[in-house]
């Protein structure tokens, strides 16, 4: 008997063996035990979470010779034939390789005839999203009035591609992604039964790398066993997985912030040697830049348990908001251009070099201190340099942030003393430690509107939503070139079209909407009168805060007049209150007030609410409200009552509106 891969060998044969889909199992079991059977089921979820498995067990449940049951015996001839894949009344159709309408017609014509040996004729249609439109239409008629002996079980990773007319005739179950812990626990069980030795830490790594999918996990486990010559050790698994965390991204962006070309290129070389695909690097980089923009505009939106929270804010303080935005555009476009480059490595290098070419240190020597200059304007004033420029003083001064970034990869980055020499700290080889889950910032995950039509069972991915959905939160006008027209010399005007690295409209599609509202509100002609509302002022200052954003958002107002502000910052944000940041804040305040403002910043805990805390509170309030709405929703109440559905409170996301 030849070797059977673990994913296949360990495919559950009973509901009890399934991991992580208790909500679906419960609902199905109740329905089976009470013989309340629907004629069509749709199972959705990402790859390898158990869709096909559940479909097959359900087929056994329906046809087991001991009677319709949630616990098919597994021993009768129907059960055994289904397990062996040769039960005459179970038709498993691969919609992806049989996309034509003929196949579906054939199937449906057969549906009228009574089952040969079982109680039900069961049709499992896998990858159902691949059916053609006409095939869907052919299926609709049978779905509307199916013969009593027919059950359809549809499965797909992509329910968006299934027509609503089909969806509405199916009882839908959304399978959850598995948590790293669930995966690791199951892998441990598998290895114990397989009598393979392992280190728990290795399984934790695999659990994260599987990104929610048990099949991915088992495929990786196969690979790990092969790689480790039968042993599953942490060291080996770490080497095998390569980069499962985003540490390298922080290193790249840190080098970019410092305009350190040689370090950037060295890092790109490293990535190539580790076999990390440049396409995914750019995609991940875009996600991180989006998070940076978020950290700069709405710091409270970054979850407290975000694994790289501190590093994120440290980086956010190093790169001016408009540069974050520019780099984002360049990353997105660079990704498209990879295929056109002489080779991927060159394409990736070119993308990084483009970011460098438009870097403030190259484009405009003092633009770090004056982050208002817009990118296009900066681009028209090039200062060619023969060799990589030295990072300028503004960047160099952020020693605390630098040290923090350097400490990334430590088990507890926060506990690391931030007082090291930035140079040595940055060069230290970060010790690989608990890597973050690859899938955490999945950009493709749609923002689920909280109060909306919920299909049969209200479930959402069990993963905590680590990233706030950036584009939805601050839906203000996208940055427009026109906003800065007055700042641009007329002679630059004509140049601009050619200078823009790419088509504006195209770039905007891909851009998250950044909060640029203050560009228009700031035109107000009347002299500014501060009214003591620090939070309001911070909101008004918006992106003009630049690098002093963290300071402003985490300070409370102790005292004030029209010419003097006293702020208090809690000790945990001491590193954000250095003189550099204070100077930047003063600059922004002067601009708003129309005159210089004296600024006094003390480190003390006043127990008052900072703008950051205020933002977080608002979010919590919205969340609570969304939850009440959901719990009182009659449809959902019915689901909970009749279907055994559970509402997973922690996955509710309020719709963000401004």
């Amino acid at each position: 008997m030849s070797y059977q891969v673990l994913a296949r060998k360990w495919r559950p044969k009973r509901f009890a063996d399934l991991v992580g889909q208790e909500h679906v199992v419960r609902a199905l079991s109740n329905a089976l035990n009470e013989e309340r059977l629907h004629h069509a089921y749709l199972l959705t979820g990402t790859r390898g979470v158990g869709k096909t498995t559940i479909a097959r067990i359900l087929a056994k449940s329906l046809n087991c010779e001991t009677g319709t049951t949630a616990e098919p015996c597994g021993e009768c001839s129907a059960c055994r034939q289904i397990d062996a894949g040769r039960f005459v009344d179970l038709l498993e159709i691969d919609a992806a390789s049989n996309t034509g309408i003929d196949n579906i017609r054939e199937v449906l014509e057969n549906a009228q005839y009574a089952p040969t040996s079982g109680r039900f004729k069961v049709y499992i249609i896998d990858e159902v999203h691949m059916l053609s439109k006409s095939a869907f239409n052919a299926m609709l008629k049978t779905l509307e009035e199916p013969p009593a002996h027919v059950k359809f079980i549809l499965a797909t990773t992509d329910p968006q591609k299934v027509p609503v007319t089909v969806l509405s005739r199916c009882l839908q179950f959304s399978l959850r992604n598995m948590t790293p812990q669930q995966v690791a626990g199951h892998l441990a069980h598998v290895l114990e039964v397989e009598q393979q030795s392992f280190e728990p830490a290795a399984l934790a790594l695999l659990g994260r790398a599987a990104a929610g999918s048990m099949r991915d996990a088992l495929s990786l486990l196969d690979q790990a066993i092969a790689y480790g010559m039968g042993e599953v050790r942490e060291e080996g698994v770490r080497a095998m997985l390569g980069a499962v965390d985003r540490r390298y991204l922080f290193v790249l962006l840190d080098a970019l912030a410092a305009a350190d070309g040689p370090r950037l290129m060295a890092e790109a070389e490293q990535l190539a040697q580790r076999g990390i695909g440049f396409d995914s690097v750019l995609a991940e980089m875009a996600v991180l830049l989006q998070q940076l923009a978020m950290a700069q505009t709405v710091p409270a939106a970054i979850a407290d348990d975000e694994p790289e929270r501190e590093a994120l804010f440290a980086l956010a303080s190093l790169i001016a908001p408009q540069d974050v935005q520019l780099y984002y555009q360049i990353a997105i476009h660079g990704r498209k251009d990879l295929a056109l480059a002489p080779d991927e490595h060159a394409g990736f290098n070119m993308t990084l070099l483009r970011m460098l070419a438009f870097h403030p240190a190259h484009a405009q020597p003092d633009s770090v201190a004056a982050p208002r200059s817009n990118t296009a304007a900066a681009a028209t004033r090039p200062a060619p340099v023969a060799m990589p420029a030295q990072p300028d003083a503004g960047v160099d001064g952020s020693a605390a942030a630098r040290a923090l970034l350097a400490g990334l990869g430590n088990r507890k980055p926060a506990s690391r003393p931030a007082a090291q020499e930035p140079g040595t700290a940055a060069d230290a080889e970060p010790e690989p430690a608990a890597p973050a889950p690859l899938a955490a910032p999945a950009p493709a995950q749609p923002v689920t509107p909280a109060v909306s039509a919920v299909s049969a069972v209200a479930v959402a991915p069990a993963e905590p939503v680590v990233t706030a959905p950036a584009p939805a939160v601050i839906a203000q006008a996208a940055p427009s070139v026109a906003a800065d027209d007055d700042e641009r010399d007329d002679e630059d005007e004509t140049e601009l079209d050619n200078t823009a690295p790419w088509d504006e409209t195209e770039a905007e599609e891909a851009m998250p909407a950044y909060a640029m509202a203050e560009e228009s509100t700031a035109v107000d002609a009347a002299p500014y009168q501060f009214d003591g509302d620090w939070g309001g002022l911070v909101t008004q200052l918006g992106t003009r805060l630049g690098a002093s954003r963290m300071l402003a958002h985490n300070a409370v107002l102790k005292g004030w007049s029209q010419s003097r502000l006293e702020l208090a910052v809690p000790d945990s944000f001491r590193h954000m209150a250095t003189r550099d940041y204070q100077e930047k804040l003063k600059t922004a305040l002067a601009e708003q007030f129309g005159h210089t403002v004296e600024l006094v910043v003390t480190i003390e805990e006043l127990g008052l609410e900072t703008p950051a805390m205020q933002g977080a509170r608002h979010r919590q309030e919205q969340l609570a409200q969304a939850r009440i709405c959901l719990e009182n929703d009659p449809v959902i109440q019915q689901l909970v009552r009749d279907m055994g559905a559970t509402l997973i409170a922690e996955t509710i996301q309020p719709v963000q509106e401004l």
């Binding site: 390789s97 002489p342 438009f358 060619p384």
Partner: protein, 333 residues
Amino acid sequence: MLFPWQLQDWQRLNAERARLPNAWLFIGPAGTGKLEFALHLAQSLLCEQLQADYQPCGHCKGCRWFEHGTHPDFRRLSPQTDDEEEGKEAKPGRKLPLIKIEAVRQVIEFAHLTAHRAGQRIVVVEPAENLNPAAANALLKILEEPPQDVLFLLVAQAAQRLLPTIRSRCRQFPLSAPSPAQALDWLRQQGVSNAEAELAHNGGAPLFDHDPVLAKLRSQFIDGLGQPTFASILNLAELVDKQKLPLAIPLGWLGKWLHDLAGLSLAGIVRYHPEQQAVLQQLVLRCDPVALMRCQDALQQLAPFGQHTLNTRLQLEALLMDYLKIFAGGRQG
């Protein structure tokens, strides 16, 4: 055939034979011999008189059929290409035709037949990133639950380019790229003249078409780029036009040159033209990085039309004018 830099990979792979996956996914950069590795493995699995170290014997029935491309238990799933392209890896930057669902259906049918010989049936899918979405989806089921003794070997440059549902069903196996020394040794053994420069120009990947005529043209072209004057630019466009080269070729040359110019200017690195370091160094003094990026944009816009029969000379002249502008400003203080 195995390349010298693949011997360790081969050992590593052999250690996995006791636990054959449904599908192996071989990953590595272009031009480093991934396909050859996969084919060598296929032959080894079909050989009926395996030698030491799992090497195929080369003369049994299985081996002879395989080498003639007629083994009944072997299929290769690749885009339909010209005969002359057969046996070579995908070229970067060139749009290759896609693998379509009809071809996948045939392979599925093949996988469900019984073996002609007693052994396994092997399907090589290369390059796997060229499966179109329908074709990729159609492979999912058979990858997950292939019939007894059917093994799939997928070859791709980066796993991330494949559908997650495909990746999820494969066991990934990263293949080594040669070290610079290994690549150089191998090229010299193949009798490639000027191996060092050729290797650099191909980004360190040793498997490329070596065409001495083209190499000479390229060096003329690069020399011209090194002296950015109006007259030399016009000459270059004429040179390319006379040889009736497709636009893709000079675009590739210019793309690599721009990369090195930007690399040296902004980050102190040269990747493709180490022998031109001195020339590049001089140009960098006058180089405006933003104008360079603009020239790069113009190049990217032309890239998709590299194989079209549009007026090559006109297009190239316009592009090279953009190139001239990189040096128009002179050095600012």
